[in-house]
């Protein structure tokens, strides 16, 4: 039992064309802003109508353009956590929850109270959404959604409205809360960290198209496609010319590189993650480039360097990322003169 989606929807200058099936557990959709992630969820929820295709949830047909089926959102039983949580502003926390239950107020109150306890919202019953913190609002929205007992839950950028300090704690809490949920979870995000943390399986979306789907860990290890490498955070990508089965010329970096993997004929790019580059003192080994510093940025726990190939100043610059733990203070004045592209870390991309 799962969610099967195969839909197309045209917009001016943009076409959404996605096809996927969820595996048990949490499935993530990763993509840049405006790539159609939220639109996909909205089509599943019945908020938007695709032009054609089919959506089936646990055997129940939600949408089928050929058979003319289009269940209204109300009958789909899909839980949707909105980016801004969409709590009803004129209702208290208690009322926000109880409105989703059928029946008399008297019968609903114990269920609402129980749900509020589970989500650690006791004492906030009479508050209005505007009187809650971002994290509390998110818990109310989640509690309300789960009280409705949906067949699937969909999280639309669940942490984008929260500040960084809260985010990590809330992510942990949310992992706990959705663990108790027996149905599938579908989550969209532009943050690779969130997808990596939450989702066992993932799909990459770029300009409305599915470009890759599979097991999250595999995709991060071997992105296979240039767009996928970019989305998973690979900063250095260059187009290539193949020299032999195990050697290529990286056109933008202006360097010949030996590979461990055989270079297939369809390979068009090579990539390497910023933290996989190794500083070396001499040009004795293979895949080594002479470099000078072109730029420098500091984050709390990382240093990001931008290097320029000294052999050819027309080459594009290369990112090198180091954890600060790895070197002493003041080390950044001591920039390596050479950098090595380890064979085993080169990503061959289509």
């Amino acid at each position: 039992m799962a969610l099967q989606v195969n839909i197309r929807k045209k917009f001016s200058g943009f076409e959404l064309n996605v096809e996927f099936e969820t595996e048990a557990g949490c499935m993530g959709i990763l993509g840049a802003s405006g790539c159609g992630k939220s639109m996909t969820l909205k089509c599943v929820a019945g908020i938007e109508t695709p032009d054609q295709g089919r959506i089936v949830l646990n055997g129940k047909v939600l949408f089928d353009s050929e058979k003319g089926i289009n269940l209204p959102a109300r009958e789909r039983r899909t839980g949707y956590l909105f980016q801004n949580y969409a709590l009803f502003p004129t209702m208290t926390v208690e009322e926000n929850l109880s409105i989703v239950l059928p029946g008399k107020k008297r019968d609903k109150l114990p269920l609402v109270a129980e749900q509020l306890r589970r989500f650690q919202l006791e004492g906030l019953e009479k508050r209005y959404p505007s009187q809650l913190s971002g994290g509390q609002q998110q818990r109310v929205a989640l509690a309300r959604m789960l009280l409705y007992k949906p067949d699937i839950i969909m999280l639309d950028e669940p942490f984008s409205a929260l500040d960084g300090f809260l985010k990590d704690t809330l992510q942990m809490e949310m992992l706990e809360l959705i663990r108790d949920y027996s149905g599938d979870v579908l989550m969209v995000s532009h943050s690779r960290d969130e997808i990596y943390k939450f989702c066992d399986h993932m799909m990459l979306l770029s300009e409305g198209k599915t470009i890759l789907k599979g097991c999250t860990k595999d995709i991060f290890r071997r992105p296979e496609r240039m767009e996928a490498a970019k989305l998973t955070g690979c900063k250095n990508i260059s187009s290539i010319e193949k020299i032999s089965d195990y050697e290529l010329y990286a056109c933008e970096w202006k360097i010949k590189l030996k590979t461990e993997e055989k270079i297939g004929d369809s390979v068009r790019y090579v990539g390497i993650r910023g933290h996989n580059l190794i500083p070396v003192q001499e040009r004795s080994e293979e895949n080594v480039m002479g470099i000078e510093l072109a730029g420098f940025a500091d984050t709390p726990f990382q240093r990001q360097y931008l290097f320029q190939n000294t052999d050819d100043k027309t080459s594009s610059k290369i990112w090198w990322v180091q954890d600060k733990m790895d070197f002493e203070e003041g080390m950044h004045q001591n920039i390596p003169s050479f950098i090595r592209f380890p064979k085993e870390d080169l990503l061959l991309l289509l």
Binding site: A73, F82, T90
Partner: protein
């Protein structure tokens, strides 16, 4: 002053109040209904229907009075039909006052309601739908409370307009003391008769009344919306 009070026939005040209240109740529900229906139309139909519904606001009330007479005059087919089949007469009667006030006040309610509904975050409606709520429940429990300030100000304006209506009322309902003479019609006829003190009295009454009602409704709606984040 006391002598003046003794000579006053209070009926215009009660006729004005009755007319204003009934016309406001009508305009409240029909204005909300029209605003809700029009939001479902496509853009072309929307601008045409919106234009028709807004016309009474921009045209002189006498134009509305003219059309109302065209419709309801006993010499006209519809007016004749109403009178013969249902014994309903609008010309020179109190229902005529209500109809005239309603037609003039309606656009204010309708436009305010529509503006208020259009400002409701569409995610609220989507959230309601994905949570299995019926359209009816979404409308009355979610949209209307969020739109309440706009609806309240529409109601206040509609009431103020209805209670002060003169042109269309005078044309359709006329000026029959104790039947169709409202405060605004009374002011005009007292001035015409040279009774400046009586006219001044009615002016005083209507200023106090209008101010009082507007202030009360503002106070009530402001109290209700405290917890909703809004500009000022």
């Amino acid at each position: 002053m006391l002598d003046l009070m003794k000579t006053i026939d209070w009926s215009p005040l009660f006729i004005s109040l009755k007319t204003g209240i009934l016309a406001t109740v009508l305009t409240f529900f029909l204005g909300i209904g029209a605003a809700r229906l029009i939001m479902k139309l496509n853009n072309t139909a929307k601008s045409i229907v919106d234009g028709i519904l807004t016309l009474p606001l921009v045209l002189p009330p006498t134009v509305a009075g003219f059309f109302l007479l065209l419709i309801f005059s006993l010499r006209r087919p519809f007016g004749k039909f109403l009178f013969e089949e249902f014994n309903i007469k609008m010309v020179q009667t109190w229902p005529g006052c209500v109809i005239a006030a309603f037609v003039i006040a309606f656009p204010l309610m309708y436009r305010n309601a529509r503006a208020a509904f259009e400002q409701v975050d569409v995610d609220m409606i989507h959230a309601g739908r994905t949570l299995g709520l019926s359209e009816r429940k979404i409308f009355w429990k979610i949209i209307v409370p969020i739109a309440a300030p706009g609806l309240a100000s529409g109601t206040v304006l509609a009431f103020a307009r209805a209670i002060g209506e003169y042109g269309a009322t005078a044309m359709l309902a006329g000026n029959i003391l104790g039947k169709t003479r409202t405060v605004s019609v009374a002011i005009a006829s007292e001035v015409a008769a040279g009774n400046w003190d009586k006219a001044g009295f009615w002016v005083f009454v209507i200023v106090i009344l209008s101010f009082f009602i507007v202030a009360v409704i503002n106070y009530i709606s402001g109290k209700n919306m405290k917890h909703v984040n809004r500009w000022i």
